[in-house]
Assembly symmetry: C2
Homo-oligomer: 252 residues x 2
Amino acid sequence: MISVVLLGAGNVAHHLYKAFVASENVKVTQWYNRHLKTIASYKNEVAITDNLAMLEKADIYIIAVSDDAISELSQQLPFENRFVVHTSGSVSAYDLDKKNRRGVFYPLQTFSKAAHIDFSKVPICLETLAKKDYLPLKQLATSITNVTKRVNSDQRAALHLAAVFVNNFTNQLYRVAHEITESQGAEFDLLKPLILETAMKVQELSPYKAQTGPAKRNDKKTIKKHLKLLEDNHHKDLYKLLTASIKHTHGR
Amino acid sequence: MISVVLLGAGNVAHHLYKAFVASENVKVTQWYNRHLKTIASYKNEVAITDNLAMLEKADIYIIAVSDDAISELSQQLPFENRFVVHTSGSVSAYDLDKKNRRGVFYPLQTFSKAAHIDFSKVPICLETLAKKDYLPLKQLATSITNVTKRVNSDQRAALHLAAVFVNNFTNQLYRVAHEITESQGAEFDLLKPLILETAMKVQELSPYKAQTGPAKRNDKKTIKKHLKLLEDNHHKDLYKLLTASIKHTHGR
């Protein structure tokens, strides 16, 4: 049984808490948050606190707070030589105070309050500064997911950056599509199966092989037609740059 | 029972053929293609031909060839006043020769040879120039899908254009993510659950509400970090433009 103290109460912390509770191999000893109110509803199932001086002993302390707050919170921990990890994709393990043993426990997924996540399929990227800390961290990860991966800081930074492309930027393309359809009184909903199939396709095929469409075919007639249809200059700029990017990739 | 003659042998034609064969309400009377070889393997289950003069009588003729070939093929049809539709998102119904009754039967999905598609979830966008042709076309569509929608030419053009954003452009973002991860020896595979979840999220939530990340938060520190990490200028340009686009949408 691995004992864990969870620090923070954002979306990642909430989803981790639920996944740990559902696991037979993990005990959440305590949940800390600066504002007790946010986690008050859990007080009957787990010890909660807003006082760092009251933190109990545990195998692993997980700091799941916003990137900017990680370093400072790690400095305020009132103990030494325990195992402390953060959950961020873009913060260095060295940003944790060196009085404790340090690591990273980065679940590569988008978490929202509402949406339920099947944690068993969420890849967790692991990093520890001391070799001996790796095994316990991996055991913690495999207790909630089937996909764990040791990554160094450069790899994690690349994954976090790539995640912005496949998540935030892709979602913005969905948004632009929403604007385009609405402007003609067409239903965005009709695009939903296509959105899903596009994401499904690259589960098996590489994005390179999955590509289709006017830019890849260098179908100038359709591209010209599309540019003429686009009324919004922001949309036009996106169309041009992404078309150029596809041509660049496919040697057109 | 609706009788159909299918013209063309690309991905859309193949997927339509299979969906029609699986339906109890449709009979594919004949399958035409310029090159007989492409459809020769079906000769024991359907009449095939490469000779337009031999086309049999049917309720609906479906032209599923490349955009540029639709108009000419429609002119070559050796009959008049029958019901002819094409399957393109971006070609006008008026591009079909006016000697026949005209319409559009546009399945809004990406089709590849390999991938199996559940046609019952593919939206089919319908348009007919004569009012009385709409009902039979709708009956044909509902025999293979649960989602049909009457759209005019402007709406169909908007959907086709929006489809480029959510399919081709999104897939290119996956490709860029692939390049970014590979450049650091990280695994693109780790992003696959995130890719799927991003697509799943907008099945319920609007893309506006689903947005998260550094651009939406206007998290300058992370944006700066990411721009510094990006080595490829194409990637940098995409990052900048999409970040600006998200800020624009969310009033940052």
